[in-house]
C-alpha cells in the first residue's frame, strides 16, 4: 500500500493500478448536493405534485366513499343532524329492499350475457376490421375508413328515433317487404312486412357484429393504429411458410394483440354494462330486466320524512353501487391492462 498523498496513480501489480486522490469532504459534498437550487426545486415540485394528485384522487374517490357510507345509513341517520359521513345506525335494509324488489339477480344475469356477447364480438370484429384497414391497400379503403370515422362522429343519440324504428320494423333493404311471407292471425292472412327485433338481444348483437355499436369507431381506430405498428416481416414470414391470410391473422396476429384486445374488451364490456341509451331505446320497461331497471326506489322503504329527499338520493346511489359492484371486480383485475394496452398500441402511429 502506498500512503503518500502526492502520488496519484500507483501500479499495484502487473494488471491493476491504485488511484489515490484527495476527496472533497463529506460536508462539502452534502452542501453541493442538497443546497443547490435544482434540488430544492425538485423537492418542491415533488411535494406539489404529490399533494395535487392526492387532492384529485380525493375528488375521484369521495363520491364513491359517500355512496358507500350513504348506502348503509338508515332513515334515523338522515334525521340525526350529527351524522355526516359515518352512519350511527348502520343497516343493510337498503340493499335488501333493492335486491328483493328490483329483480337484481335476473338483471345481473341478463346484462352479463348481453355485455359478454357485445364485448367479445365487438373486440373481435373491431380487430378484424382494424387489421383490414391497417395491412391491406385496396381501392376505396381510405373512403371506407372515412366512413368508420363518420360512424364515430355522428352520435347515436342523433339517430335515436331511426335506430328504434329500424329494429322495430326490421327489414333488410326492403326484401321482406317485397317477398312478404304470409302468416295467418285470427283467421286473417296478414302480410309480414317486417320483424320486431326490439326487446331482444338482436339489435345490439347486430350492431356489435357489424362494428357499429357504441364507440366502435374508436376501437377500430385503436386496432388499426396498433396493427400499423406490427412489422410486415412477421406476416411475410408466415406467408412464406404457407399460411393463408386468415390463418396468419388467427395464429400470428391475434395472439400478438391480446393486450390491446383486453383493453378494448374492458371498454366494450364496461360501457355496455352501464349503458343507459341503447337499453332504453331497444328494451321497453315491461320487457327483459336489465341494469337500468334496477335504478328505482323500493316501495317497502318509507321515504316520507323531513330528510326524505336525501334518503331517496342515498337509495339511488345504492342502486348505482349495486350496478357497478361486478364492474369493480373486473376493474381491479383489468386496470393494469388498460394502461399497458394503450401504451403498447403506439396510438400515435
Amino acid at each position: 500500500m502506498n500512503a503518500q498523498n502526492t502520488t496519484k496513480i500507483t501500479k499495484e501489480t502487473k494488471n491493476s493500478i491504485h488511484v489515490d486522490f484527495e476527496r472533497t469532504s463529506k460536508k462539502e459534498r452534502m452542501r453541493i448536493k442538497y443546497l443547490s437550487s435544482s434540488f430544492v426545486i425538485g423537492v418542491v415540485w415533488w411535494l406539489f405534485r404529490f399533494i395535487l394528485l392526492l387532492g384529485l384522487a380525493y375528488v375521484v374517490l369521495m363520491p364513491f366513499f359517500s355512496k358507500v357510507t350513504g348506502s348503509f345509513m338508515s332513515p334515523e341517520d338522515f334525521i340525526d343532524v350529527t351524522v355526516k359521513y359515518i352512519p350511527k345506525y348502520p343497516t343493510l335494509d337498503t340493499y335488501k329492499a333493492i335486491i328483493a324488489e328490483s329483480h337484481y339477480w335476473q338483471a345481473c344475469v341478463n346484462t352479463l350475457a348481453l355485455s359478454l356477447f357485445c364485448g367479445v364480438s365487438q373486440t373481435f370484429i373491431c380487430a378484424l376490421i382494424g387489421y383490414g384497414f391497417a395491412k391491406f391497400k385496396f381501392k376505396g379503403s381510405t373512403l371506407l375508413f372515412l366512413l368508420v370515422v363518420l360512424t364515430m362522429v355522428i352520435p347515436h343519440q342523433t339517430l335515436q328515433l331511426s335506430l328504434f324504428m329500424k329494429f322495430r320494423y326490421f327489414d333488410i333493404l326492403g326484401i321482406l317487404n317485397l317477398l312478404g311471407g304470409g302468416v295467418s292471425e285470427k283467421l286473417e292472412l296478414i302480410k309480414i312486412t317486417s320483424i320486431n327485433l326490439n326487446n331482444s338481444y338482436w339489435p345490439l348483437a347486430l350492431l356489435s357484429l357489424t362494428g357499429l355499436a357504441y364507440r366502435n369507431g374508436l376501437y377500430v381506430f385503436m386496432m388499426r393504429q396498433f396493427y400499423r405498428g406490427v412489422p410486415d416481416e412477421l406476416e411475410e414470414s408466415a406467408y412464406l411458410d404457407g399460411c393463408g391470410t386468415f390463418k396468419t391473422f388467427f395464429s400470428i396476429i391475434i395472439p400478438l394483440s391480446i393486450p390491446m384486445m383486453v383493453t378494448i374488451f374492458l371498454f366494450a364490456f364496461c360501457w355496455q354494462w352501464t349503458d343507459d341509451f341503447y337499453t332504453t331505446v331497444f328494451f321497453t320497461s315491461s320487457g327483459m330486466k336489465l341494469m337500468p331497471d334496477i335504478i328505482m326506489t323500493p316501495k317497502s322503504l318509507d321515504t316520507d320524512f323531513a330528510a326524505g329527499d336525501l334518503y331517496i338520493s342515498a337509495i339511488r346511489n345504492t342502486c348505482g353501487l349495486l350496478v357497478i359492484a361486478p364492474l369493480i371486480v373486473v376493474y381491479l383485475f383489468g386496470q393494469r391492462y388498460l394502461v399497458q394496452g394503450i401504451e403498447r398500441s403506439g396510438i400515435v402511429g
Binding site: 394528485l53 375528488v59 375521484v60 385496396f138 379503403s141 347515436h156 391470410t245 371498454f267
Partner: protein, 330 residues
C-alpha cells in the same frame, strides 16, 4: 333474400378465401380481396343498417310519423316544418342550444389542458404511480352511462339541499360541488387586473373539477400513450445541451404530442356533445319522450349536429395549422 344469405354465409366465405388464392390472381389483387373480406362486416353493417338509419333519421326530420296498425308506419312529408317548430315555436330550444354551445366551448380547453397536465404528471416516475393511475382511470370505466345519470340528479339534489339542511348525509356531492366559492378566488385575484368573466370561468372550473376529472379519462390515456412514444434519446440530448425541464416541455414534449392534442380536442367535442349531462342532449331526450315529439327531436338533433360539426371543423382547422408532424421516411 340474397343479402340475408350473404350475411349468414360470411364465415364460410372467410374459410374459402385461401383456396381461391391458389388460382392465378396476382399478389396485389389477392391482398386487396383479403382486405375487403376483413372489412366485410363493417361494409355489410354500413349498407344494411347504418346508411339506412342515417338516411331515415334525416328523412324523419322532414316528416310526421303515424303508426299504422298491423305492422308498419306512415310518413307524411312536411318539409321544413319540424325545423321551423324547433327554431321558432319551441321557446327553450334556442336558449338551451346557445347555452350548451357556450358551455362546450368553455369546456374543451379545460378538459384538454387538464388531461395533458395529468398525463405529464403520471408519466413521471414517482411514489405510488401505479396507484394514482388506477384511481384516475376509475371514472373511464365506472362513471359512465347509468352512474353518470345518477350523479347528475344526485348533485342537483344536494345543491338544493345544502341551503336548507345542514345534515348532508350524502356529503360527497356537496363537497365536490363547492370546493371553493367565488369569494375565495376573488380575494386571491383582487389585486390582479383580470376581468370578471375570467374570474367566473376559473371559479366554475374549480367547482366542476369532479366533472372535468370524470370526462378526461380517455384523453389522459391517449396523451399518456403519446408521451410514452416520444423517444428518450431526444430528452437525453436536450439534457446534454443544458435545457431545463420547463424548456424541454415547451420545445419537445408539446410539439411531439401536438397531433394528439388535435385528436383529443375532436374527441372531447364529440364525447361531450353525446354525454348524458349535456343540456342540449338532455333537452332533446325530453322532447323525444313527448307525444309526437320524436320527429321534432330528430330535427333538433341534426341542427345541433351540424353546429357541432362546424365547431369541430373550425377547431381542427386552427389547431392543425400549429400541429407538428414528425415525418418518418420509409
Amino acid at each position: 333474400m340474397n343479402n340475408e344469405a350473404k350475411l349468414q354465409q360470411a364465415p364460410q366465405k372467410i374459410n374459402a378465401a385461401p383456396k381461391k388464392k391458389k388460382k392465378g390472381a396476382s399478389l396485389d389483387s389477392r391482398k386487396a380481396r383479403a382486405g375487403w373480406l376483413f372489412v366485410l362486416p363493417f361494409i355489410i353493417g354500413f349498407v344494411i343498417i347504418y346508411a339506412p338509419i342515417v338516411y331515415d333519421s334525416i328523412l324523419y326530420s322532414f316528416t310526421k310519423i303515424s303508426i299504422v296498425t298491423g305492422g308498419g308506419y306512415r310518413l307524411t312529408w312536411v318539409g321544413l316544418a319540424n325545423y321551423q317548430e324547433a327554431l321558432f315555436v319551441d321557446a327553450t330550444y334556442i336558449q338551451t342550444l346557445s347555452a350548451g354551445i357556450k358551455q362546450l366551448i368553455f369546456d374543451i380547453p379545460a378538459i384538454v389542458i387538464f388531461s395533458l397536465f395529468m398525463a405529464v404528471m403520471m408519466n413521471e416516475k414517482m411514489v405510488g404511480r401505479a396507484a394514482f393511475r388506477a384511481i384516475f382511470f376509475i371514472p373511464v370505466i365506472l362513471s359512465t352511462g347509468l352512474i353518470d345519470k345518477i350523479d347528475q340528479s344526485n348533485q342537483l339534489l344536494s345543491y338544493m339541499g345544502d341551503t336548507t339542511s345542514m345534515d348532508m348525509g350524502d356529503g360527497g356531492a356537496e363537497q365536490t360541488n363547492q370546493i371553493i366559492n367565488a369569494m375565495d378566488v376573488e380575494r386571491l385575484f383582487r389585486n390582479m387586473v383580470i376581468g370578471e368573466e375570467l374570474l367566473d370561468y376559473v371559479v366554475g372550473l374549480v367547482n366542476d373539477i369532479y366533472d372535468i376529472v370524470n370526462r378526461s379519462g380517455v384523453q389522459m390515456l391517449i396523451f399518456l400513450a403519446a408521451l410514452q412514444s416520444i423517444s428518450p434519446a431526444i430528452y437525453e440530448s436536450c439534457q446534454i445541451d443544458g435545457a431545463t425541464q420547463w424548456e424541454t416541455f415547451w420545445k419537445i414534449t408539446l410539439p411531439m404530442i401536438s397531433p394528439m392534442i388535435l385528436v383529443n380536442t375532436v374527441y372531447t367535442v364529440i364525447d361531450s356533445f353525446t354525454s348524458a349531462d349535456n343540456q342540449v342532449m338532455t333537452y332533446i331526450d325530453k322532447v323525444y319522450d313527448q307525444p309526437s315529439g320524436n320527429v321534432l327531436s330528430s330535427a333538433m338533433a341534426w341542427m345541433y349536429f351540424i353546429i357541432v360539426m362546424v365547431i369541430i371543423a373550425a377547431v381542427a382547422g386552427v389547431l392543425s395549422a400549429y400541429t407538428f408532424y414528425q415525418r418518418q421516411e420509409r
